[in-house]
């Protein structure tokens, strides 16, 4: 039967029940589509904003960690100044591995705003316990590295030109500096430098000590003792006295050389029962190579934040002698990771 429209009355033969039955659920489907599209959009925007917020938090945490790590260097500067102001027992000025400055310091921190925790660790190492890179002779450098040619190249790099030393044909080209090293990383430029030798040189030698400054016998490493020409017996004597019965990691029973010069031999004679007077080892130990105090230190300050996980390390070299304007301590080098 055909449905007819009654134009005379203006009304239609419209049957809502049938119409609704015909389109049953279409509005619901439309609404669900709309909700789905809006939900997808909301999730996408939420994820985008979440990523941006996380990036901003990471950036803020990195800035905080950097500021914290930098502050650790200045904290260390105060520690070495305080150590210099307070002489050791007997009024003597000596530095050793059990000194106040040598103990690593860990400080827990908390952000006042977010409450997030972090940690600052400050470790100070003695640069006077390393072989002076600018005054060590070729023999000492060869003994340390085990490489005669490299030792010669290191000496050639810092001393006035005395032979054809440049290699402009290399890649990259090499030109001897003919001046003292000012940073340990400079040894990287020396031809044929290998990663193991680079590591040995950067950990066992130091370009920061002034020419006449001796090494500290209380902190110098066994490798450096061997490099300067001490016999294995003398090296073991020094190490055994320094480390004491409690071993190298504890310092309560350490032996300390409290005075340089002939007092070193007297200490070894009294404490270890061995007299090195008049021997080649004895002469080296009382020479100007060694003393018992330190003026140059390396500070490694590392700040770690837990959430978000961020770590920043600052390594600095500080000196507490010969600073400009008679300052008690000054910065010599600075490296930020």
């Amino acid at each position: 039967m055909k449905r007819r429209r009654n134009f005379s009355t203006g009304s239609a033969k419209f049957e809502p029940a049938k119409c609704l039955a015909l389109h049953n659920g279409s509005l619901l489907i439309l609404t669900l589509w709309l909700v789905t599209i809006l939900s997808v959009l909301a999730v996408a925007i939420g994820r985008y904003l979440s990523l941006e917020v996380r990036l901003a938090k990471y950036r803020k945490a990195k800035e905080q960690a950097a500021a914290l790590a930098r502050s650790g260097v200045y904290l260390a500067m105060q520690r070495v100044v305080r150590d210099a102001a307070a002489p050791e027992a007997g009024g003597r000025a000596y530095d050793w591995m059990g000194d106040e400055w040598a103990a690593p310091e860990a400080i827990a921190t908390q952000d006042e705003g977010s409450g997030a925790g972090g940690q600052l660790t400050v470790a100070i190492a003695d640069e006077a316990g390393k072989l002076p890179l600018n005054t060590a002779d070729q023999e000492q450098l060869a003994r340390l590295t085990g490489d005669e040619l490299l030792a010669q190249r290191l000496v050639d790099a810092r001393d006035p030109p005395d032979a054809p030393e440049d290699a402009p044909e290399r890649t990259p080209p090499y030109f001897a500096k003919n001046a003292p090293f000012v940073a340990p990383e400079e040894v990287s430029d020396v031809p044929d430098m290998t990663p193991p030798l680079y590591d040995v040189l950067t950990t066992q030698t130091s370009p920061y000590a002034p020419a006449a400054e001796p090494m500290n016998l209380n902190t110098v490493s066994s490798e450096v003792l061997r490099a300067v020409g001490l016999s294995e017996r003398a090296v073991q004597l020094v190490l055994q006295y320094r480390e004491g019965p409690d071993g190298p990691d504890a310092h309560e029973q350490d032996g300390v050389f409290q005075e340089g010069g002939v007092a070193i031999l007297q200490t070894l004679k009294d404490q270890q029962g061995v007299d090195l007077t008049g021997t080649a080892d004895g002469n080296r130990l009382i020479s100007s190579l060694f003393d018992v105090s330190s003026q140059t230190f390396t500070v490694v300050s590392e700040a770690t934040l837990a959430r978000p996980s961020v770590r920043v390390r600052v390594t600095a070299v500080i000196r507490r002698a010969g600073c400009p304007d008679n300052q008690p301590v000054c910065l010599v080098a600075w490296r930020e990771s």
Partner: protein, 203 residues
């Protein structure tokens, strides 16, 4: 009649929603562009700040620098460009070494931006052309000022430009302003911890 009303309402609703979505997408796009631009600027300034912090007073002898082969280009802390020796790896993971770096905003190969060059000391001594790296494409101008102690030193810090050659003394504080092609300016004060506030003598 109800269907007409419902359709009209839905049409109005969809038109409004569409307009808002279009506006939202435009804002989102603009926000993303701005964020990326700021990120690029921040990364460039961070790179510059790290190179400055790790600076090295490589050789205090003025005769070690020059144009001849074997001589190192002189470190320069100028008003619009900087060149100096810093310590860093050539690439991530490589061992650190002394490197000669330069920063300048100019056009290279038709591309305007903040350009950084970095090369080993040997390559710089040989005066080999370094490979430039575009740090910030929209950089129009770089302006640098350097803090200096006034006379008497009790007065506030003075800012001067240029600093000088940087052969005998590195600046302690550097104020960097980057002006972009859109006219925006980014300014940051950076520290060279081993630097000094006493400028080198005029050349």
């Amino acid at each position: 009649m109800e269907l007409v009303v419902a359709s009209t309402m839905m049409a109005v609703l969809f038109m409004g929603l569409g307009a808002h979505l279009r506006g939202g997408v435009a804002v989102w796009q603009r926000a993303t562009d701005t964020t990326e631009r700021l990120q690029r600027r921040r990364v460039a300034l961070d790179r510059l700040e790290r190179d400055l912090a790790n600076s090295l007073l490589y050789d205090p002898r003025p005769d070690a620098y020059g144009e001849g082969v074997g001589l190192l280009p002189a470190p320069t802390f100028g008003g619009e460009a900087m060149a100096w020796v810093t310590v860093g790896p050539a690439s991530p993971g490589a061992r650190p070494a002394a490197r000669f770096v330069t920063y300048r905003c100019d056009a290279r190969d038709g591309v305007q931006g903040l350009w950084r060059t970095s090369q080993p000391i040997g390559a710089a001594r040989a005066h080999l052309p370094p490979a430039p790296e575009l740090l910030l494409p929209e950089c129009e101008a770089l302006t640098a000022r350097y803090a200096a102690l006034p006379e008497p030193p009790e007065l506030p810090l003075q800012w001067r430009s240029p600093w000088g050659s940087g052969v005998t003394a590195l600046p302690r504080l550097v104020e960097i302003s980057l002006t972009t092609t859109s006219g925006e300016e980014a300014r940051r004060i950076m520290a060279i911890p081993i630097g000094t506030l006493t400028p080198p003598p005029s050349e």
